[in-house]
Structure formats: structure tokens, C-alpha cells
Symmetry: C2
Subunit: 151 residues, 2 copies
Amino acid sequence: MRPEPSKAFDPGEWEPERAGEALRAHGCRVTQPRVAVLRALLEHGGTIDALGLTALAQRYEPGIHEATVYRTVNVLSEVGIASHVHAGHGPSLVRLAGDEQLVAVCRDCGAIAPIPEESVAQLVESVEARTGFLLEPGHFALEGVCGECSP
Amino acid sequence: MRPEPSKAFDPGEWEPERAGEALRAHGCRVTQPRVAVLRALLEHGGTIDALGLTALAQRYEPGIHEATVYRTVNVLSEVGIASHVHAGHGPSLVRLAGDEQLVAVCRDCGAIAPIPEESVAQLVESVEARTGFLLEPGHFALEGVCGECSP
DNA sequence: TTCTATGCAAACGATTTGCAGGGAG
DNA sequence: CTCCCTGCAAATCGTTTGCATAGAA
């Protein structure tokens, strides 16, 4: 694969039916399985694991194999169309790039809440100044207790 | 196993040589392998994966099996002596409870860096004020690029 | 035609589990 | 003496990879 270096991806810009064009626009070879995966991801929105994504993609490409989905997701990540989140013990989750945000999972009810941009920016800045470590939050979820579960 | 419900554990309170007492104090059956694991963990401090912990524990219990280390770590977690962090692609990391802190993993070299207390406190405060969500960071790591891997 | 992507199956790393024997209480 | 814990090997789960072939450019 010889993908374009990552470039911006605005999910709202692409209708699911034009998944093929989106792929081409990002320098990817356009194949049925890839179209199926991207289309499924565009339609689904939010986060989904590889198994679920395979199931959705089968709607457009019945014989598609899970290994292909993994490979496709990797390609989509390389060109900046998708990314993944580690949300705990289970499998990692895929989502469209541009949809990235640091999220928190409620320990009690499992609710997922986005963490405000400003709070994240403040953290990144503070950590970089103190340790030289440049955080790229969004690939991991944080744990906590949501407003409803705490008295 | 019939462990005590989790109770506070102050790592500073326990010398590595008294790992057996610490186990007994928390309602665990005291065996050589368990003593070896806890002792290794007390000596090591910080975070370590199961493989590394096994290696350290072998110093006290040469024949100890990795499966036993996993089982022991689970017991230690149940009684509140240890906990684990999800570090992303790699194996999860074990550490003493009471030593919990938010850590960052370098995307390039895998280095683990603790995130300064103040930065975390600032984040927790900010998020609670804006969303009512009370973060308990420490169960998941954040991702980023460490000072050495970024130009 | 050329070269990449796919399906399949097998490899993989991390972790868990079934079982029979050994050790703690 | 009674269970629990351990070592071992095999199973499991999520993910990756080698290979021969199908398919995009």
C-alpha cells in the first residue's frame, strides 16, 4: 500500500454511498471490500469493534473476511480516515477520524461521556511543559463515575 | 479464594520481606508463590507486566509459572493490594494499589511516563466542574510521544 | 501486464482454564 | 484431612501474517 500521508477527514463531507470516492481521494486503491467497510463505518458512525464492522460490511460484500476488515481499518487509519480507541478489557473500537475526542467511561453504568476540549487542551499543555511528553489523547478512554451514578 | 473485601493498602507500610504478613492481613492464603509475587511487586514499585513480574518473582520462587502470576495478581487485585493499567497495544501492567497514577505510553518507543499529579488534578477538577463526571484516572493509560521520540 | 489486495488458514501474544497432584490450614 | 493453590498444557480471544490467487490500475 502506498497511502497518502494522513490528511484531514471530515466525516460529514462524505455520504456513505460515496465511500469509493473518499478512498480514492485519500490515495487508496478502491476495492469492493474496502468500499464496503468504509461505507459501513460512515453509516454506523460512533464506535464499533472489528467483529461488528465485519457484520455491517457483509451487507455490501457478503464474503468479506474479518482479516480483510482489520487490514482495511489499518489502511483507513494510515490515511487519516479512521482511528481506534482502547475502551477497556474488550476489543478495541474503530471510529471515523475527525470524530476523535477523549472520552470517559462510567465505572458503574458504562455510560460514555466526552471530555470537554478545553480540559483536554489544558492537560496536554500542562504535561508537555512539565515532562516533554506530547499527549495525543483520544486513543484511550478514562475511567470515572458519571454525575448520575455519584450521589 | 475467600478474600477480604478490598481495603486500603499503603505500600509504604509494607517491607518486601513482610509480604507474607501483608497477604495474611488481607485475608489471603499465604503460599510461597504468592509471597514471591507480592515481594517482587513491593520491591519493584511502579508498573510492570506479567512477564516481567514472573521474572522477578522467580528470584524467590524459581519454578513459579506465569499462569500462577496471573492468578496471584487477580487475587491481589480483589483484596485491594494491586491493580492494573491498560496500556494499549501491549500487555496490561500491574502495580500496587495506592500507587495509582495516570501514566502515558509513548506511541513510538513504548516508554511509560507518569503524568504529574498537578496536571491530573487540574483535569479532574476541570472535567467535574463542566460535566459532573468524576474521573478516576489510572485505570487506562494515555497515549503520546515522549520527549526522546519527538524532535 | 504489473502489482496490490483478498480469502483462507495458520501463527501470534496475552490471558484464562481444566485437570491431577501438592501444600496450607 | 480437607480444600485451595499450583504447575502444566491446552483452550481462548483479538489480531496479524504467509501464501496462492483474484482483481485494480
